[in-house]
Symmetry: C2
Subunit: 430 residues, 2 copies
């Protein structure tokens, strides 16, 4: 496989929605694509478990095969679009070992076994591209990997789940409650009947692991990612945020600190003037802070067959071009071996919203609890509530370590003057 192929042979594994669009686009744009690759391209075959199952007319029957080994052995580029862990993992490893370039859209696999796959690609000097696995159609992996090659990424803040962005956006712009907004999302096809994977942040956490690996050349897997979903967010949280010019977004955050990296997914308050605040509906966006390039943001559709196919095709062109140029892929990078830190070591600003007893001196007691933990208050707002016995207090803190915050919230909740801690939200992007 290491000499330049006169024709680049492509194997497609799994002609589902995305795979079918990829085949269609490959055929339709063949002239353009070959000009960019610098060599003819041909689909060597399409792996399916059962060749007898009827397929979309765009899939030529003659190309179907249930012999994955033989197909991979004949290919220069393997495009894995089956999803799931197995047999995708085994087939990708077999392809990389043979020196094939691999393109995959398989987020679950990369989040669970990314480090193993990155190492296998590295060892074989083979390309492993996965643009479609992180944020659908948004060109993100290539910019971070190539355009920022001479730069250092400090932090990534990403809206990487369209369902939760849709729900939070509806709550923010229309004042809907969580349940109503989620129901709308389900009716419009933006949320599944069982929305757990989206609303509890599991999908975003998988993407956060991939993003962190990419940004820091660091092996990060799903288990390293702290995760909180949006199901506890109330209209009162949204309103309290809005009052001071903030909006709530579910963010995947990957951050390089002096001692390591921390990777987390949680509802986050960002300024209404931050570019991420302008990401509406089910769109995705990834905000990158790099040393030399400064602030960058990449915005687009995070899902959908056609957008995802577009991202896969871009990857195919890149790796096919490298194949046509005849060399082995270079080693992607020197992997770093930074500690992946727990959430306790993260440091952010916080907004604590609580019901307190409505009498003089209460604010002083609350402030004393924060002071005892070394947490500095940036602002306090107080509202009277309808029951007259309680007031609502919203405290924004200066940057503080997460571990101090946890203890502070516990002390607040236990305090005689605090009736209830209503919510604790992190503030980012400043």
């Amino acid at each position: 496989m290491s000499s330049a192929p006169t024709t680049v042979k492509i194997a497609i594994l799994g002609p589902g929605t995305v795979g079918t669009e990829v085949v269609r686009l490959l055929e339709r744009q063949r002239d353009d694509l070959e000009a960019r690759v610098g060599a003819p391209i041909v689909i060597a075959g399409i792996y399916v478990r059962d060749t007898a199952v009827p397929r979309d007319p765009a899939i030529p029957r003659g190309l179907l095969t249930d012999d994955a080994d033989a197909l991979i052995a004949s290919a220069d580029v393997v495009v894995e679009l089956m999803g799931g862990i197995e047999p995708a993992r085994t087939m990708i490893l077999a392809a990389l070992e043979r020196g094939c370039a691999v393109v995959t859209a398989n987020k679950a696999l990369l989040a669970a076994h990314g480090p193993e796959l990155y190492e296998a690609a590295d060892a074989a000097h083979a390309d492993l591209y996965f643009e479609a696995a992180v944020a659908g159609a948004i060109p993100l992996v290539r910019p971070v990997r190539e355009s920022l090659a001479g730069d250092h990424v400090r932090r990534i803040l990403g809206i990487v789940n369209g369902t939760t962005n849709y729900v939070l956006d509806e709550m923010t712009t229309r004042g809907l409650g969580y349940d109503v907004a989620l129901k709308r999302a389900q009716e419009l096809g933006f949320a599944e009947a069982d929305p757990t994977a989206d609303v509890e942040g599991y999908d975003a956490a998988a993407k956060a692991a991939i993003l962190a690996s990419l940004a820091f050349h660091q092996r990060v897997s799903l288990d390293d990612v702290y995760r909180e979903g949006i199901s506890a967010i109330t209209p009162a949280d949204v309103a309290a945020a809005s009052e001071v010019g903030l909006v709530i977004k579910l963010l995947a955050i990957a951050e390089r600190t002096e001692v390591g990296v921390n990777v987390r997914v949680h509802p986050t308050l960002v300024s209404a003037t931050h570019p991420l605040a302008g990401v509406h509906g089910a769109f995705n966006a990834v905000f990158v802070e790099a040393e030399a390039a400064g602030e960058l943001m990449f915005y687009g559709q995070g899902a959908g067959g056609l957008p995802t196919a577009s991202a896969v095709l871009g990857d195919i062109v890149s790796v096919a071009r490298h194949k046509a140029l005849g060399g082995k892929g270079p080693r992607e990078s020197n992997y770093a071996d930074l500690p992946v830190l727990s959430i306790a070591s993260a440091s952010t600003r916080f907004q604590i919203r609580m019901l307190v007893v409505d009498r003089p001196g209460v604010l002083a007691s609350v402030a004393a609890i924060l002071a005892a933990h070394g947490i500095s208050i940036e602002s306090v707002r107080q509202h009277h509530t309808s029951d007259r016995a309680h007031a609502e207090v919203v405290i924004s803190t200066h940057r503080a370590p997460e571990r101090d915050l946890e203890r502070t919230v516990a002390d607040l909740a236990a305090s005689a003057v605090v009736h209830e801690v209503l919510s604790v939200l992190r503030i980012e992007g400043e």
Copy 2:
């Protein structure tokens, strides 16, 4: 030059602000960069007109040379950071003819002589990369060229000039007048003492030509770009837009129509919920509508030595990697030969703001003038003014051809019921 170099030799032409940062970053990140390139990289030399002039300490004196020919002849990759048309044009052409890959940040040169340079690169099968020439640090050229390789771009809407975005943003968010906002921009270093190139849209027009070439594989030069600046925008325009949820941005627009492409720069009304509306201060962003990928946006810093150097470095890594892989560059694409259309053929929605005589029947007369030109009205708003003799009428039209609009505005201005046409602004992004 066509066999794989064991070491990739880089020539830097012009060690100004950006060039110095590039040299500094190249040295600081050498290990990382070489891992990504897959071969050792070395700075073969740095061309300066006068080797005796003192330089930044980051520039090794021993690498300076005033012999550009000899330097280019010894290089694999030539990085042109001199700016201006000559001798940059001649040196780049010489480098391409020799099969060198070329990286340039020279917007003026590409806008004026882009087609000649793209053809020379194509003929020599050499890479010509220019990420830093369009929108500073924003990775844009590579995503459009590679990630969207199998897609078709329909339209690009870009905020590509930081000065004008800063001025319009100050007018919008602080209610400042144009002169005051411009003065602030000058004080903060966002605008030059002579701001003409920015505020009259010349800089944006140059970038529009490059963007259009890129998006449509079409040779577009500065002369093909229709251009209007922002100096006529008044606080009343901003307020009238804001009343109906619109904001004014100076956009570079490149559009593929059924009969050709049209490329233009003018103040444009976009919805306050459009992602471009969330681009504040001196930031840049480019919004892309593609057939398969859908809507994408790329956001970041459009200028500055360090961000620009970051973009140049990303390009160096890409072309050096191709050199290390040993092949000639592929032909970039099949260039299209679409007609580049005049502004008269463009079609947009319009907002016409005018002072009319304040008496019954005037709206009917105004509507009749639009109807006579086949222009359909979407909404009309009318305000009384302080002088009582006149009313202000703001008409938003449905999509209409620019040529019809011009005639309509002429007829409105000549009408007895119209005292003055205050402004005509295009509405985009819907």
